[in-house]
Subunit: 254 residues, 2 copies
DNA sequence: AGATATTTGTTCGTATGTATT
DNA sequence: TAATACATACGAACAAATATC
């Protein structure tokens, strides 16, 4: 049965309790990103705890990505909108001891990406359309680079779509799947240089951007659905558990 | 552009670096849930850091839910599969400063829950079928309890489905949406005692379990899709941003 | 550019609590 | 019950970073 009390009961340490108290303080005082938390010494007085304990409590918020701590005068803990990477790191930890197959990832992308595509209609500027077009064309096999680099560009295109998504939840889920694909599946991917498929991919991307530009949600959803079928059939061959990861690799830049 | 180096570069503190080193140690030594990490003193020697720094590093892993630290002899840090609640807490932090509408939540459930239903075919035991049936019937308006209690039972049914899902990713996403609904949307929900709808909901749940029992994936998907349309239309009226939360409430038990 | 004040970061010593044997 | 091995908490001192004058 659903029982959250176990998770809550596990918080017996003073630092964990104080972490929750600080969270309550944030909600209660309606603090926004950029606002500063009280200083360590003030927190020590506020919650009647020693420096070490307060620091452990702040560490909890910092690990969640809720605050950034800087030294020096005018330093301290400032609130911030949690960056996506922090969320990803937690989800990676969650998935580490669970078996994921490539088929499961593709199955999810198949239903989520079409929704993503449709959600972007009337939501992207002309500049962003242009940016997407450039990115889409860069994944064409004639553009050079090796096979893996082109796959990364392809995923970067999907990442950009997710970033532009007006629904934070949908955007997060799509980026999540992209990252799982990138860091866990791609390295195992058989290097099957299927040029026909690669051209189809590029064409789909371009057609998709055009549909979004024309504000044709129905067409955008359809193109993405077909696109997902294409890559699913290709990737489905390797029905293997994905490689596991705990730390984020800084290889995502290109 | 996608640039993970910022997130990585932010880790300049010794404790964060050591946390990553411990993660690498876990992956390298192929440690599994239940295995123990070296003692504090050994870790101090291994990574040449003081007690406080090691403690902060362990704190990072503990916040992610990757280890649980117990006191006493034979105590210390033991590895564990990250509980779902820990993942949820991170996602809550991620969503805290982002605007989410109820419509976005329902739109996602509409595409994910049917997949969840289909994924359960041939994956649940007779005992679990029986358990689901009991749970399904408990949400009937004749079963007593107030409106909110019945909504919670309804969500508990969906939670159980997600727990049984063979795909960790899909299961996690569905539970996530349930929790967002429960803790952020339900409290605002107009108490519209629509008895007809409530009976329809119970019927759908029962029919769904029967379809799963008959291993009829197509029917299961269809029933869930219609079910999602029903509740979406009802909940869609309140197109408001959802209430924000940072700490998990232990109210989920009933 | 350099000194200084302010704030976090790190370390140590010690005392306390807690679970095992 | 007592001895133990360990984590937890506190306080004080010092180190490092950084904004400001």
């Amino acid at each position: 049965m659903i029982n959250m009390t176990d998770a809550v009961r596990r918080k017996v340490k003073r630092s964990d309790l104080i972490a929750d108290q600080i969270k309550d303080w944030i909600v209660k005082n309606d603090k926004k990103p950029g606002d500063r938390l009280p200083r360590e010494h003030e927190l020590m007085a506020l919650f009647a705890a020693s420096k070490g304990t307060i620091r452990e409590a702040l560490k909890v918020l910092e690990v969640h990505g809720l605050i950034r701590i800087t030294t020096g005068p005018a330093g301290g803990a400032v609130l911030m909108a949690v960056p996506y990477e922090q969320c990803l790191e937690s989800v990676y930890s969650y998935l580490y001891f669970r078996e994921i197959s490539t088929g499961q990832v593709y199955a999810l992308r198949k239903v989520l990406e079409p929704e993503l595509a449709a959600s972007l209609v009337n939501r992207v500027s002309e500049d962003e359309i242009e940016e997407l077009l450039v990115l889409a064309k860069r994944s064409h096999p004639d553009e050079g680079g090796d096979w893996e680099a082109r796959r990364n560009i392809e995923l970067a295109f999907h990442d950009r779509l997710a970033e532009l998504c007006p629904s934070p939840l949908l955007g997060m889920m799509c980026r999540l799947l992209n990252d799982v694909l990138r860091s866990m599946v791609l390295p195992k991917y058989a290097r099957s240089h299927n040029v026909d498929l690669e051209e189809t991919i590029t064409d789909s991307h371009v057609a998709l951007v055009r549909a979004i530009q024309r504000a044709d949600a129905k067409k955008a959803r359809k193109i993405m659905a077909e696109h997902m079928s294409d890559v699913q059939h290709h990737g489905h061959a390797l029905e293997t558990p994905v490689k596991r990861n705990l730390t984020l690799q800084p290889n995502h830049t290109f």
